[in-house]
Symmetry: D2
Subunit: 142 residues, 4 copies
């Protein structure tokens, strides 16, 4: 299946002191913050803005993360996070991310996350709307 | 004024990789996480448990922080955070903290925080109850 | 293979405000901080203390994380993190974690992490010592 | 004294889930991460790039933070952080920050930080160079 353009995102981040640890490199957990920022902008682009989430009460919730650490980023590095929706069915979809250092083209991190749409506060999973991921016309789960 | 025993707290923490930065020392912001943990246990001890906060809707809210960095802690250090209520009047009280490394007795950080009791979700400040800080018999701000 | 006692760990944590997000539950990334604390104490117990790491220059490095989010923890919850080494071969070993809420016995999170022993600053992977995981007599990778 | 243009900075940030807490607002400690990002870009602009810090071994180190919390930011808010050098003498300089929500012009947070230039790894404070803050021609502290 072809992935529509609005299901791809690319964000940038500069590595700050608070992203690194005493090993001199970016701490392993921090990449997931970089990835969550990319995923949030992807969600907004796909129609799940903060306002829309508040209106419908339907939240995208991470149910599984797989992340592979290949190379380490350092203080001051400029990184790019590329993400795209890769699979979907029923109540779940998968997003893949790569963290790349454009200055030398090195792939640092690969990550896959499964998400579900969950109606809050009941915590009830909601089926992906027809036309997902091209269309995300949510109706509050009714 | 004498500070009652339940208005003092002492907590311990071991410095983890994610607390340090590429400078090889604990990142300046991280000490405020250590201090917030101590302050939360102090609040519980003084009668502001999470349950009590939920029941009354009255939250202790930080309105000002002053923190002085004197010496740096390192990976693996065992630290002690000592806190105590030092001043109170009207709608505000102050808590002082020291972060100490017991192995060599060095004082690393001093911190003062002002807090207000705020009734949520209205965001309305509430007067400290009579008998504060020895007594924190909150009544939902009525 | 039987897992020796020193290859199991159990740590506790109380959920603080800074662990939660506006959804009212513990943020998905935060569980990995809880797990890293447990893994650090496990490493110390197995012979990889901070001092030993400094002496040998051999660091345990996370190369892959898989984490499944099953149920959400809330502000004030007391959680237990159980971890144990489950597989090892050549230059890699796997550790499994469960995050449990003892008050109701609910399993919140399951996690598996692959780690390698890496000689720094060269970044050269080192073979697990003979007798691993019962014995971790590191010799600086010579 | 007039503050030169390169001693002023303005950065933007969008509030993510991981910036908020169960109170539904940005956690008090998180503003200091926003401020540190602004301060890092200010340092780069003034001549203290990561490369320059590595070359000279002279790091800008926070010695005191004062922060006042006036209003709370929420999930999804777009915030602006304005910073500028306001005082300097001998071995210390002060930077002031305001965190503003441009959509309604509300001032959320005010902050002042004292910094020293410290030669690492000795930890020796270094006098501000002549011409500071307009000129930051560091020479490794010789």
């Amino acid at each position: 299946m072809e992935v529509p353009d609005q299901c791809r995102i690319s964000t940038d981040v500069r590595v700050m002191y608070f992203d690194t640890d005493a090993g001199g490199v970016v701490h392993n957990i921090v990449y997931l913050r970089f990835i969550e920022t990319a995923r949030t902008y992807l969600a907004i682009q796909m129609g799940m803005s903060f306002l829309e989430i508040e209106r419908t009460g339907i939240h995208p919730v991470v149910t599984r993360t797989e992340i592979d650490y290949k190379r380490a980023a350092k203080l001051g590095d400029e990184l790019r996070i590329d993400g795209r929706v890769v699979e979907w069915s029923g109540i779940r979809f998968w997003v893949e991310f790569e963290v790349i250092r454009p200055s030398d083209g090195v792939l640092l991190v690969k990550c896959r996350q499964a998400l579900a749409l969950v109606k809050m506060p009941e915590g009830r999973p909601v089926r992906l709307p027809a036309g997902f991921p091209a269309s995300l016309a949510l109706d509050g789960g009714e």
